[in-house]
């Protein structure tokens, strides 16, 4: 239990009568890179803000590095890096000024690395914040969230506004960060290809709850698409154990299955005298299948 850097149990958050989080149970181990997937309005950003103490939890419990998010100690805050979905910075400052200003709060601010990131991400230190594009602001937000080399990164759709080059740079930096398996990352995103490249774990949110949380490879190993071809027409009630979605078209069917194994496949072959092809799914397909299953 102590190895969990983030832990929530029955976490709920409502704004008036609108309940956004409906009992989130999550336990992220130290060193994990967790991709938080979910449709719009699923509660990803709210969950992250609750974990940071920016929003107060309505019910349930949560701990971040073993502490109550609402009363995080200075030491714990110094180990957290947060990049919001929309980066609000002081428009009247210059890029270099805002970095220096933020860095003044942290004893271990890595100025050299920040300069390196500025060059790498092609940001002009003398540029005014108000003149930056959304993507450039996002890059600057990343630098501000990472400059003190935190142990835990909470990134709220960090790559949403980045161009392909920026996304690649970001992923490369995140991969470098997580090489030592000491740093943890929780990031929400809609870009599943990015998540596939760096995530060790994936959490899929829907309707205010975690539908799935586990290792990415395990998810990809378990969720498969099965194509069934039978000599005779398949009945409308054709079903497969663990099916997420079934599409029947005469003598053939396409079934997305959450937990595929040889026993299931052999059972289909024996019963319908059919040929069965098993296809691997990418993360986007898995997400869509899981989303459609709801």
């Amino acid at each position: 239990m102590n190895n969990d850097i983030i832990r929530t149990s029955g976490l709920r958050k409502h704004f008036g009568k609108n309940e956004v989080l409906r009992g989130v149970d999550l336990a992220i181990p130290r060193g994990a890179v967790v991709g938080l997937l979910g449709s719009n309005g699923a509660g990803k950003s709210t969950l992250i803000k609750c974990l940071l103490g920016l929003l107060k939890i309505s019910a349930g419990t949560a701990t971040l590095m073993g502490e109550d998010p609402w009363n995080l100690s200075a030491h714990t805050k110094s180990r957290i890096g947060y990049v919001p979905q929309v980066v609000h910075l002081y428009p009247w400052m210059k890029v270099r000024q805002v970095i220096e200003y933020t860095g003044a709060f942290y004893a271990n601010w890595d100025h050299a690395w920040c300069r390196e990131l500025l060059d790498q991400w092609d940001l002009d230190g003398a540029a005014w914040i108000r003149n930056l594009s959304t993507g450039q602001l996002q890059r600057l937000g990343l630098i501000l969230g990472m400059g003190h080399r935190p142990d835990l990164y909470l990134l709220d759709e960090p790559a949403a506004s980045l161009d392909p080059s920026g996304r690649r740079s970001l992923l490369r930096s995140l991969l470098e960060i997580t090489e030592d398996r000491e740093h943890s990352i929780l990031f929400s995103t809609h870009i599943t290809s990015d998540l596939e490249r760096i995530a060790s774990h994936v959490a899929i949110m829907g309707n205010g709850v975690i539908d799935y949380f586990g290792e990415l490879d395990e998810l990809k190993d378990s969720v498969k698409r099965i194509r069934v071809h039978s000599p005779v027409d398949l009945p409308p009630d054709f079903s497969v154990p663990g099916a997420l979605r079934t599409e029947i078209n005469g003598d053939s069917a396409i079934v997305a299955v959450a937990a595929v194994n040889d026993e299931v496949i052999d059972g289909i072959r024996d019963r319908w005298d059919a040929s069965v092809d098993v296809e691997d799914l990418n993360l986007e397909d898995i997400f869509l299948e899981l989303h459609d299953a709801q």
């Binding site: 704004f15 709210t46 803000k49 940071l52 103490g53 920016l54 929003l55 107060k56 609402w70 009363n71 995080l72 100690s73 200075a74 030491h75 805050k77 110094s78 957290i80 947060y82 929309v86 609000h88 002081y90 009247w92 400052m93 210059k94 270099r96 000024q97 220096e100 200003y101 933020t102 003044a104 709060f105 942290y106 230190g125 003398a126 005014w128 003149n131």
Partner: protein, 752 residues
């Protein structure tokens, strides 16, 4: 019990305040600057309203008694001397040191020296002390062909004086400072060039001998008969004469209404008189009488011979308040740079600079209105103060340019500017009289074209400066506000800023950005229009409420100058309202500083500071700022009370201190509560509580009440002394402070 870290934090915050040059300036102003409030000040505003030839080049006037005696012995001619003032030689001219020792001296009669005047062939102005003029041979005076002006100071001006004066045909100016004139001034009518006559009491008051008033109707008739008289000054300092003490019921002709009535009759047919400086205008009745004289003499420019003391007092108070309020605003602007040490986000937004400019404009107009009236004209007054503001703006801009070069000595320039501005009235005390005379004439509207040109130039300069700030506002604003920082802070900042102007490529990029900003500026009027519209809708930001409340406070405060009657009531009202403004302004300015902070606070709270400590730091920082400013206001208020009402006693001061302490707590709670609330209703409710409390605390500090009558004001004052008042204010302050603190503890700072 405060922890070590808390003590360090308090120490850091205190340091950021104490190390600021502007704060040092404030302390200097408190210590020395209040000298301008002294009634003995020789400021321009306390001088006579008219000017004399003796005011011009006063510093060049010869008044060395020892040299005069020496020259009389060696007989040397001194054509370079054009003006002699015997009144400043004092008793030295009457004595002559001998060789027996410094303690023994023999009297040297002035008559022995009168021939010495012939050694000054170019003498143009002479000021004689008592009995001196009659000892000078008429032929000696007549030989001085350049002599244009003579002043005589004597208790009794006799026929011999007048006869001596009438022997100098070149005379243009005669000033008689006396309380007794001879029966006839007729000999003066032989002077073809005599254009100006001044008759006043000067420093003289009473004599134990029989006197003939210098303002008798027959004297006025003789003055009217002078062939070239264009300017006449009649300034009696009416004092009851021996006749009064003997029971006489006949009005003394020096009595102000009598003199005005006589002048009205005598000078109605004057063909030559152009300017008449007549009597006093200290009361409404005197002003009305003067207006009647002016109406009767349409061809004569009638002015009072003395300034309106009420206007003088108002201008002094308004000037003091203006300077102090300006200082408070500058301090407030600079406090944005508390920075990481106080864990407050610096906000040096153009709104602040815009507000600063607007406030200065309003205050300048109010000040000009306050001093305008019968003595001073509105246009030159506006031009003068607008020019002062323009000069400050230019100096500030120059400093910003110097700052852009990275010179660290630029750090001290604004402090020097502020000192110059603050001590300008005191410096005026040491200005030569001729300069004061020129300024007098200008302020009285003698040169309206110059005033218009000056006003237009000042407006252009200010507009240009504002545009500069608008184009480069952030960059310049940072340096404009930099004096808030310590020397170390500034050094670090200057070395860290992107001042790479030597780099051609970056300079080109900078110029390109300036051009873009120019284009943006062209669209600003539209934005300004929207801003005003939003302000009237009260918007969402407490800044708008703060701005409106400040305007109301200023208007309310300055408006009091025009409402009150009676010197005592005026003193009370002025002190009350000036203190109200002094107390309200810091609170409202800090409220503006905190406006719109809730969203940005989401970033603050993630900095590595524990939530409780962060909230505590915010409260402490705001309370420190408010407390410091209220302490300054409190000291100023008690100085005002001391000067105007002579009432501060230990119990008054203690009660005021307790009340001001409660206000600092209450203000902190109000400001920080309003900061978090987006709802306008709560902000207005708390603002009203703050305003009512401020008024109440102000009245406690001044220890006076407000009411339609003296009795009503007294009953309010007695109510303020009720034992429940001070605890009540503290309870309200404690409740609001606690509510605000709890509110901050519970607030979710994230944007959802």
């Amino acid at each position: 019990m405060l922890s070590k870290s808390a003590l360090r934090q308090i120490s850091g915050i205190s340091k950021t305040y104490l190390m600021r040059p502007l704060m040092l300036c404030a302390l200097l102003i408190l210590g020395i600057g209040c000298a301008i409030f002294c009634f003995s000040s020789r400021s321009l505003r306390f001088r006579d309203s008219y000017s004399t030839p003796f005011d011009q080049n006063a510093s060049d006037t010869f008044h060395d008694a020892q040299a005069f005696v020496r020259w009389s012995e060696d007989g040397t001619v001194h054509p370079e001397i054009t003006a002699i003032d015997f009144t400043r030689m004092g008793s030295a001219i009457r004595t002559k040191p001998n060789d027996l020792g410094p303690r023994q001296a023999e009297v040297l009669p002035f008559g022995d020296l009168e021939q010495t005047l012939a050694q000054f062939p170019n003498l143009a102005k002479v000021q004689f002390d008592r009995d001196q003029l009659t000892q000078v041979a008429p032929t000696t005076l007549a030989a001085l062909t350049s002599l244009r002006a003579i002043s005589v100071l004597d208790v009794k001006v006799t026929a011999a004086h007048i006869a001596a004066l009438s022997q100098v045909p070149s005379l243009e100016w005669i000033s008689l400072q006396t309380i007794d004139l001879p029966a006839s001034l007729e000999p003066l009518s032989t002077l073809p060039n005599l254009s100006s006559v001044c008759i006043s009491n000067g420093p003289l008051s009473m004599s134990n001998g029989p006197m003939a008033s210098p303002y008798r109707p027959e004297t006025l008739v003789e003055l009217n008969a002078l062939p070239s008289l264009r300017e006449l000054i009649l300034r009696p300092q009416y004092l009851p004469g021996l006749g009064y003490f003997a029971g006489s019921k006949t009005p003394d002709p020096a009595c102000d209404p009598v003199l005005k009535e006589n002048c009205r009759e005598v000078f109605a047919d004057s063909q030559t008189l152009q300017r008449l400086w007549l009597g006093s205008n200290q009361s409404d009745a005197e002003r009305n009488q003067l207006a009647v004289v002016a109406k009767t003499l349409p061809h004569v420019r009638v002015r009072p011979a003395t300034y309106d003391s009420r206007k003088v007092l108002e201008s002094r108070m308004a000037g003091g308040i203006l300077m102090f309020a300006t200082m408070v605003i500058m301090l407030q602007l600079t406090s944005q740079f508390s920075g990481p040490s106080a864990q407050l986000i610096p906000r040096f937004a153009p709104v602040h600079l815009g507000f600063f400019a607007a406030f200065i404009t309003i205050a300048t107009c109010a000040y000009a209105l306050a001093i305008s009236g019968r003595d001073l004209s509105l246009l030159p007054a506006l031009a003068t103060f607008a020019s002062c503001v323009a000069v400050v703006a230019i100096l500030h801009a120059m400093w910003s340019v110097v700052g852009m070069t990275g010179r660290q000595y630029a750090y001290w320039l604004p402090a020097l500017i502020v000192v110059c501005v603050m001590y300008h009235p005191i410096a005026m005390n040491f200005a030569p009289p001729w300069w004061s005379a020129i300024l007098d004439q200008f302020l009285m509207g003698v040169h309206p074209v110059v005033a218009m040109l000056l006003l237009a130039t000042a407006a252009l300069v200010l507009a240009g400066c504002l545009l500069l700030f608008s184009w480069q506002h952030r960059f310049w604003a940072e340096h404009a506000i930099a004096p808030a920082m310590t020397v170390g802070d500034l050094g670090a900042r200057m070395s860290s800023l992107a001042w790479n102007r030597r780099d051609d490529r970056k300079s080109a990029a900078q110029i390109g950005r300036w051009n873009r900003r120019l284009q943006d500026t062209l669209a600003q009027p539209r934005a300004t229009h929207r801003w005003i519209a939003r302000m009237w809708r009260l918007g969402n930001s407490p800044a708008y409420i703060g701005a409106i409340m400040i305007i109301v406070a200023i208007t309310f405060s300055f408006g009091s100058f025009f409402r009150v009657n009676g010197a005592s009531a005026m003193d009370h009202m002025m002190v009350h309202h000036s203190v109200l403004m002094l107390l309200a302004l810091p609170m409202l300015l800090i409220a503006m500083q905190c406006s719109g902070r809730r969203d940005t606070l989401a970033r603050d709270i993630l900095y590595p500071v524990a939530r409780e400590r962060w909230i505590g730091s915010v409260f402490l920082a705001v309370w420190t700022q408010l407390g410091s400013l209220l302490a300054l206001a409190f000291i100023i208020a008690n100085l005002q009370i001391g000067f105007l009402m002579q009432v501060p006693t230990p119990s008054h001061v203690l009660r005021g201190l307790v009340a001001a302490g409660a206000l600092s707590v209450l203000g902190t709670g109000v400001i920080l509560s309003v900061t978090l609330h987006r709802g306008i209703a709560w902000a207005i409710a708390l603002g009203l509580v703050g305003l009512i409390s401020t008024i109440c605390v102000t009245m406690i500090i001044v220890d006076t009440g407000l009411g339609p009558s003296g009795a009503a004001a007294e009953s309010v004052r007695q109510a303020l002394h009720h034992p429940a008042v001070l605890p009540g204010i503290w309870i309200v302050a404690g409740v609001i402070f606690s509510l605000a603190y709890r509110q901050w503890q519970r607030t979710e700072f994230a944007c959802v």
